[in-house]
């Protein structure tokens, strides 16, 4: 919980992006697990938080990730039609459609919030997604705007 301290490396010479991934227990978590058992290498910048279902992911969790210093957030779950609870991901999809608009209006950088569907068989997709997000976030640099919100006040 370093959000109260100034950023240790404002010059970004050694900037390592912090990425929070909220994943569903049944698909994406197993996909990430498969990536591990297949010895697929991906950047260690991602913090995986396992939840029962994408439908369970409260939008406050995304805000909280940024509050606690995340530079990017990933939300990932089962492909449409594959939800363990039959419709959790459909509900989530609808919710995020609206939520993204709200964050966009607030001036939150939408390039830092990612949504994917990754199944239990898509270890390689997990590897690609995490690599892409990490590289993209590394180029964008730390999310200073939100860190400022959480520190200055």
């Amino acid at each position: 919980m370093t959000h109260k301290q100034p950023h240790p490396d404002p010059d970004m010479t050694t900037f390592e992006p912090k990425i929070v991934a909220y994943v569903c227990n049944w698909c994406t978590y197993l996909g990430a697990d498969l990536a591990g058992t297949n010895r697929l290498e991906y950047p260690p910048n991602v913090r995986i938080i396992r939840l029962p279902c994408t439908g369970r992911i409260d939008f406050n969790l995304i805000v909280k990730a940024f509050e606690t210093g995340a530079d990017a957030v990933l939300v990932s779950g089962c492909h449409p039609g594959d939800c363990h609870y039959t419709s959790g991901n459909y509900h989530a999809r609808r919710r995020w459609t609206l939520f993204r608009e709200l964050l966009d209006t607030l001036g939150i950088e939408m390039d830092r919030i990612h949504f994917t569907w990754i199944s239990a068989a898509e270890g390689r997709k997990w590897q690609q997604v995490i690599t892409e997000i990490t590289e993209k976030t590394r180029q964008m640099g730390p999310y200073l705007a939100y860190k400022r919100i959480c520190r200055v006040s």
Binding site: N60, R93, R94, L102, G107, S153
Partner: protein, 280 residues
Amino acid sequence: MTKQLHKVCRELLESGKVQVIIGYGQKDRGQPPHPVFITSPEEVEGLVWNDQCVANLTTYLTRKEIRALGKPAIIVKGCDARAIVVLQRESQIDRSAMVVIGMACNGVGEPRLAKCAACDAHVPAHVDITIGEAVSEPVDPERRYNDLNVFMTQSTDERMDYWQDELERCVRCYACRQVCPLCYCERCVADKNRPVRFSTAPTLKGNYAWHITRAFHLAGRCIGCDECTRACPAGINLRLLNLSVARAAENAFGYRAGLDPEAEPVIGSFSTQDKESFIK
């Protein structure tokens, strides 16, 4: 109109159809009308109706102390009537146990409120009694989101700066929540402390979390009465946040809150055909 309103209300109270009229009263002409709760036929002369009747009275329908007064009749404008539709859809009120008196309205406030510029509910829908006639002009649906569209022409950074200035002023009085007819939770997430969902301190961090939460808990529910914006002592333009979610619901799902009592709420239902261009 006021005379007719008095007549209707007197009849309602005398016949015993309702026990309380939730309406507007005014101390003297210069002062803005305030909510009044009339329980006896002799008092109905205290009811007023004019273009200064800005408040959305439907917020009182779910209040315990008002419910204790008995079966209500409530005076609404076209915009307020939509809140009743949502409350009914969410099983918060027994629609058959109240009388809704709709006032035809050509806009309220001095100067006219922003919402009135794109109003398409001059004559209230889903009411029991309509009083008066309004001049109804066709409204270009895009005008509803004019303020937001203009705001969104700014860059992400400019918007970020704007909201930091705005939300910095928030003192977390929760007037926006109290005045909202659809913020009826007995225990608000902001008041829950086990676990704490977000900071309740009036700091920028907590204010962001609160205003994101407030706007999103009203996603697909906000009927755009703009009472939150009016009640805010810090003058924060909460209207823009409400508009952004409402516009998304209309564009993506063709849904507007409070129009159809039978419609499935946009959050809480889904279609397998929903667009998902943002999901990889």
